[in-house]
Symmetry: C2
DNA sequence: AACAAAAAGTAGACAGAGTCCATTTTTTGA
DNA sequence: TCAAAAAATGGACTCTGTCTACTTTTTGTT
């Protein structure tokens, strides 16, 4: 009895090899890109099309089984930790992304001072900064932050501390 | 004595027709895309290359003269209101973007509960929801929000209320 | 005013991330 | 087991944005 298969059935999502592998991949590496996840799936079941990955990620996000975050300058990241409305802290220089508990409470800043008549459904908070290891590097080499923080650094992003 | 020209000089940025027009364009339409701004500049001085626009926006952002925000699923938006660390409230369905004063204070959630050793330099907050006019539309037509919130709606995004 | 050096602008090729679409394969549920 | 519904495939395509070689404009100094 495959655990993930039952989860999918419970949500009325047809069970396919691709989706099962993807679900496991997301669980195993929080904050990974679609591309990285596709590779992980391939390692497990041999092959997947790019489209299958995007479709599956899309429906899983829709159904609330996984979460998508889209930080500026980075492709979208996916994670299995849902429902707790946590936030993210991202290193400008290497892209490392870590979870941050919400400061305010269960559903954080959901009450914007003046909501202008909008019906707000999400308060997305991203903290930007420099991670410990990049801080160290900067101090040692004397490289300035601008240099260390070049966008292409995101390409070889680590996932989790 | 052109106002904007002096601003540029003060920041040590060489004064060009393109940058002057761009600066005015950004001032005139908060939360516009590079593309929209390029059109505005063309209307004023006849022509600009795409690259000049991206370069100019880049240096203006670097020098802190303007601000860039990059909401998920949307091209980058630019605005002249800087230094007050305000946040944004974006309609999922039509992309309308409005400013929101910071709830907490001067520099808001800058203190994440557990900062994991990062040196945090910015707390970016985006509130997502449905704007008044889209709410109305949804209620009238009975169209569900998923329908109303299709991504392509962003292409013809309004800028400000 | 004239001139050289530095900085910007131009046009067009190119890249990354994601979407569209016609067709084939798999899953579902009767 | 079978038909209908849903997914997967793969390849073209779109949208933002970047790179590059080259030309034009600014600047700041004679
Ligand atoms: Mn997370
Ligand atoms: Mn704003
Ligand atoms: Zn780092
Ligand atoms: Zn709206």
């Amino acid at each position: 009895m495959l655990e993930s298969a039952n989860i999918l059935r419970k949500y009325g999502i047809p069970v396919t090899a691709q989706r099962l592998a993807l679900l496991r991949a997301v669980g195993a590496r929080p904050h990974a890109t679609a591309d990285v996840l596709a590779e992980a799936v391939r390692a497990e079941i041999g092959a997947v099309s790019k489209q299958a990955v995007y479709n599956a990620l899309g429906t899983l996000v829709e159904k609330g089984l996984i979460r998508r975050i889209q930080p500026a300058g980075s492709p979208a990241l996916y994670e299995g930790r849902v429902g707790d409305n946590h936030h993210h802290l991202i290193c400008r220089s290497c892209g490392m992304t870590v979870d941050v508990a919400c400061v305010v409470g269960e559903r954080p800043c959901l009450n914007a001072a003046d909501h202008s008549g909008f019906r707000i459904d999400e308060a997305e908070v991203i903290f930007w900064g420099t991670c410990p290891s990049c801080l160290e590097k900067t101090e040692k080499t004397g490289a300035d932050q601008a240099e260390a923080g070049k966008p292409q650094d995101f390409l070889t992003r680590p996932t989790t501390p």
